[in-house]
Amino acid sequence: MTLLYILAFVLLCVALGYLFRVIELSRELKTEKEWVPTESDNRMMGRFFLVFVFVFITWSLYQIYQYGYKCLPKSASEHGLKVDELMKYNMYIIWFVFVATNFVLFYFAWKYYGKKDRKAVFFAHDNKLEMLWTVVPALVLAFIIIFGLKYWNEIMDKSTDEKAIKIELYSKQFDWTARYAGVDNAFGLDDYTQIDGGNSMGLDTTDKKCFDDIIVKNEIHIPVGKEVDFQFRSRDVIHSAFFPHFRAQMNCVPGQVTKFRFTPTITTAEMRKDEQVIRNMKEINAIRAAKGEDPFEFDYVLICNKICGVSHFNMQMKIIVESEKDYKAWLAKQKAYKTAVVAEKN
């Protein structure tokens, strides 16, 4: 096989060599300045640009139709609605600028292609024009900045709600572990030197606040309509807790605790009935069926979004949003840290 590649490559080289020899011989007969673009070159390139801009803009808009529904479905969290709304207005602005500027650029590129009898206009500067395109972008940006910061401050508001459910997400290569604060709604201390097989999160076993904490693997459950106060820790390298459907993300940094709060608004069951989700799941299941795999049902996920090692692409955890009743029932079945450890030792 390798031999074939080499052979093909050699033949290609020989063919190109001959081609150039021909070009060279024919060139020696001419003395014209081949590098100078002729009027027909200019016309052709100008037209190409004009065609290009129409095709390009049409194609980019067509992609919204073609791929738009594959983008994330409506936000499943309260603050996410604000993010989506802001995104919508920003998208209007940037699509407009993108289309208009590219169009004008390539239109001029065609309109003013070089001709023998054309003379360019000596137009070196114009204070009014330059003022115009300094002030207009500045005004638009002022709006973008003001609204962006307003929402940012609301989302990142640090004032604590005592009633919020506290969950800690602990990341390590290459999985997530969750810890619920338990009855006292407070986390016990942690100490990374105490990590061992039975204490994978490195809880401080001398701190009584740890005893009622609940450690969960594989999936977390959260109640709809309740604020969840997440805190993040990491055991080894930087990871990032990314909840795409909730428009939430926060890095997990070894040696420090980071936080992000959000209120889920749509249960998993409700989201499965969302039109856009149904459409995507249909496609995914068709692909899976063709490969002979089991059908897949939509679930919220938490994925790692900061390069963390070889299995970075598979560091995920299921998130289930359900009614408060179901959530409480599920939580009641989980074992507190102390009971779990004691049970293991026996």
Partner: protein, 609 residues
């Protein structure tokens, strides 16, 4: 004052060189001193260019390999096995560790070796002495060292591909602890050490080059070459060099602390880590410190990459529109503004690190401000085309392409700069699309434009126009085909640096976008063969270049076409009488007036008439 100063120095320099020349007449330069350890800025420029072309080919091949994996995960490709061998491409399937290594080295080579070393190294070296009317760089020796450090660092970077554990693989941003701990990823063993050594040498090269560029521009301008008569290329190179000199030392210290953490047990970046079955001793450091230091270079770096490209295209667009660049002073002002702002925006890479949200707000504000000078530049380019007489040389095509990609990639920056919106698109393919279009494409288009435009000054021959056209269209269409659909992947929540997107079913139906992207990537890569053929063929067999093939005003076109003289001009240095953009000036005989032509009796300099 500044001007007369520049003049005296230039004259002094000239005397020195005359002595040198008298000396040279007796001893022919040896092959080694002429082509290898040369101190001539033109030779050094060619050395940078050819090294960068080779590095670019390597980095591009890497991208094709990992794009094949992303489009058809699990598929067996003889090509991958051929390129990577049985260890990393067993049965033609890319190894996941190698995937991360390829992504890392692709980014490192493209950002630093091609678009910093290659772009600045080539064109700053070639054009600074030529366009300001100097015999050579202020220090030819430091300039030579700059190239050889670059060469050495390139060799080490390429060499790291062949070691047992594979090259560095923590992403080109090499965030610790991943990059600090050999237990975390195989690439953080010897590969990371070599990466750090290579980058340290690269920084030395960059600093030697940058200091030289600054000193040369400030001191060696010829008579009449006021700062406000400098071509925009020179302004761009000057600002770029200043950014580099101010920010690369920070990267060096950042790398140095990482070296300490890796091999001397310090804990600048490490704290509370349990890995490889044991808790580490290091306590009290913070990986966030690394991120601050890294991005304090990292963000100016974006403009170190971009500004030379913008400078090059300013020159090419004016020349080929046969019009003065619109708003010369505004262009300088916006470059200065971009340069200044680039130092106070680094935090926008870190909104999601847990950084204080208030600090985040400050960075939102400063970052979005950069959009204003950028918009001014884009509109000024477009106005330069307006009512021009556009000559479509391949260089001009790439310059128009740059303006397009600068706008298309720039607008998505508004989304990413906005911390609220960054929450959903941070570290997704949206980011990949954004920076490849605005920085990657714009800079590489600027580089191609520069190569096509100044090839005659480098190699005394012309590149083939038709092949240039073909190359442009394949590249331009291919590049948008690769990066535009990526925005949709990002909006679907697909994170970057995933070995495969089909390991869990959520992203399964995005496979068609990934395939489309890869097909375009392969087409665009094949298109580069056209360039390589044109480049190397024209170097030896292209049409002989005349003195001023593009009817351009700047000083480099007043040097003799037939031979390369060490010292650039055979006689006295040229004297400059006007700004460089007198194209199609009313009342002039021809549509260009070189800078060496004295002003007429009623003529005003610099755009007035």
């Amino acid at each position: 004052m500044g001007n007369s100063h520049g003049h005296t120095v230039a004259v002094g320099h000239e005397h020195e060189l005359h002595h040198a020349h008298a000396h040279d007449d007796h001893h022919e330069e040896s092959f080694v001193s002429k082509y290898i350890f040369s101190m001539d800025h033109k030779t050094i420029s060619r050395q940078f260019l050819i090294t960068a072309v080779i590095m670019a080919v390597v980095a591009m091949m890497m991208s094709i390999i990992f794009r094949m994996q992303l489009a058809w995960p699990g598929e067996k490709f003889a090509f991958i096995n051929m390129m990577l061998g049985d260890k990393w491409g067993k049965d033609g399937i890319l190894d996941p560790n190698m995937y991360l290594a390829l992504v890392t080295i692709h980014g490192t080579i493209m950002v630093f070796f091609v678009l910093t070393g290659g772009l600045s190294g080539t064109f700053s070296n070639l054009l600074i002495p030529y366009q300001i009317g100097a015999r050579d760089m202020a220090s030819g020796f430091l300039n030579m060292l700059s190239y050889w450090f670059f060469f050495l660092s390139s060799c080490i970077m390429i060499g790291s591909l062949f070691i047992e554990d594979g090259p560095a693989s923590g992403g080109w941003t090499i965030y610790p602890p991943l990059s600090a701990l050999p237990e975390a990823i195989p690439g953080s063993k010897l590969g990371m050490t070599l990466w750090l050594i290579s980058m340290s040498l690269f920084i030395v090269s960059s600093l030697l080059g940058g200091l030289n560029y600054i000193v040369t521009i400030i001191n060696l301008r010829t008579k009449g070459m006021k700062m406000t008569r400098m071509p925009l290329t020179i302004w761009a190179f000057l600002i770029t060099a200043i950014l580099g000199v101010l920010s690369f030392p920070v990267l060096l210290s950042c790398a140095l602390l990482l070296i300490f953490d890796r091999s001397m047990g310090t804990s600048f970046y490490l704290s509370d880590i349990y890995i490889g079955g044991r808790p580490l001793d290091q306590v009290g450091g913070s990986p966030i410190l690394f991120e601050h230091l890294f991005w304090f270079l990292g963000h100016p770096e974006v403009y170190i990459v971009l500004l030379p490209a913008l400078g090059i295209t300013s020159e090419i667009i004016a020349t080929n529109s046969r019009k003065p660049i619109f708003g010369y002073r505004a262009m300088i002002g916006s470059m200065l503004a971009i340069g200044f702002l680039s130092f106070i925006v680094w935090g926008h890479h870190m909104y999601m690190t847990g950084m204080n949200p208030f600090l985040g707000s400050v960075f939102v504000f400063t970052t979005l401000l950069i959009a204003i000078p950028s918009a001014v530049k884009a509109f000024n380019y477009i106005t330069t085309l307006w009512k021009g007489n556009i000559q479509y040389t391949p260089a001009m095509l790439f310059s128009v392409g740059l303006v397009s990609s600068f706008v298309t990639g720039g607008v998505t920056g508004i989304i990413l700069a906005d911390s609220t919106l960054d929450i959903t698109v941070h570290d997704t393919y949206f980011v990949v699309a954004h920076f490849h279009i605005v920085m990657g494409l714009s800079a590489i288009f600027g580089m191609f434009a520069g190569v096509y435009h100044w090839f005659p000054k480098m190699f005394r021959r012309m590149m083939n126009k038709k092949l240039g056209y073909l190359h442009f269209w394949i590249t331009f269409i291919g590049a948008y085909g690769v990066f535009f659909p990526m925005h949709f992947l990002g909006m679907s929540g697909v994170p970057r640096r995933y070995y495969t997107n089909s390991n869990f079913p959520l992203f399964d139906n995005l496979g068609d976008i990934n395939e489309l992207v890869t097909v375009f990537a392969i087409i665009a890569a094949l298109g580069q063969i056209v360039f390589l053929i044109n480049f190397f063929y024209s170097m030896f067999k292209g049409q002989t270049a005349p003195q001023n093939p593009w009817n351009s005003n700047t000083l480099e076109w007043t040097t003799p076409a037939a031979q390369h003289i060490h010292g650039n001009w055979p006689g006295a240095l040229p004297e400059v009488h006007r700004w460089p953009y007198d194209y199609s000036k009313p009342g002039a005989e021809r549509d260009f007036i070189p800078q060496t032509v004295p002003l007429g009796p009623d003529e005003h300099d610099g755009g007035g008439h």
